[in-house]
Symmetry: C2
Subunit: 164 residues, 2 copies
């Protein structure tokens, strides 16, 4: 909405042309690219992005296992969302929950043999998809900017959350 | 899947360290920033992001009105998703649908007076939120890279969709 339409005496700091272009790009590019990558994941491996995230985190740990509480923190998911997700994955036989001798840190989730096969088969196809829809399209400098901005926003958010 | 679609299966092209940093940043920063901006929008103005998008598009048109079919294309939403959204907004009195003399292009959606007031009140608060959580944090060069990459991905997607 144009400045002269608002009549706001506090003079809102409307976005400049380059700022607006960056904001529109931000809003549009993520859903578009993520939809393409999610579609590939389903077609190639029958997995959702949530399935893939859980499998790949577990696949990268020693013993293919992790405390459910730690996994929730790492993925920035609520315990309840993760619990529903793990139940669905358990029903498909790709993970299982394991009670741990009670040290107060709660149950673990473990990749089953089928889960290991699933992530090992899916990973090379997924990385190709990520390259095709994003990584291989960008210049090394553009990639560096994304990493920088990601780090900047993450740090800033951490600081904001702590001071709230 | 044909071999030319998967690449060389014996040697997956795993992401390099800088590529992986860019990919993780991409995955994480968008949900984090958008959650903050969406939370502000609800607290400041009682609007969802979808509400805001519809109101701000209509607010920027002549006569604060648009064909529903054109709005769906512009927002890249399905007709059905947009229709449900407009019904909810109509119930709150901020937009109304209007039948148009039948020229085969379908109904229009129009901002009500209350809708105009709503977007005029919300816009200055929203732009402050967008600045605080994203735009003011980035350097002009980082903003330029986002705009460039957004344009690149959008163009590429357009080409892909046409050749599919």
């Amino acid at each position: 909405m144009a400045e002269n339409e608002t009549g706001n005496e506090s003079a809102p700091r409307w976005l400049s042309e380059p700022e607006q272009q960056a904001w529109y790009a931000w809003r549009r590019m993520f859903p578009l690219v993520n939809a393409d990558i999610a579609r590939d994941l389903t077609q190639d491996s029958g997995l959702s992005e949530a399935d893939y995230d859980v499998l790949s985190v577990l696949g990268s740990t020693d013993g293919h296992r992790m405390r459910i509480s730690a996994l929730a923190v790492l993925m920035q998911w609520s315990r309840s969302r993760l619990s529903h997700q793990l139940t669905r994955m358990e029903q498909r036989g790709i993970v299982r929950r394991e009670e741990v001798a009670d040290d107060g840190r709660g149950a673990e989730v473990v990749l089953t043999e089928q889960g290991v096969t699933t992530i090992m088969t899916a990973a090379p196809l997924h990385v190709e998809s990520v390259r095709r829809h994003l990584i291989d399209i960008l210049t090394p400098e553009q990639l560096r900017t994304f990493a920088e901005v990601g780090e900047l926003l993450r740090t800033r958010l951490g600081v904001e959350r702590k001071t709230r």
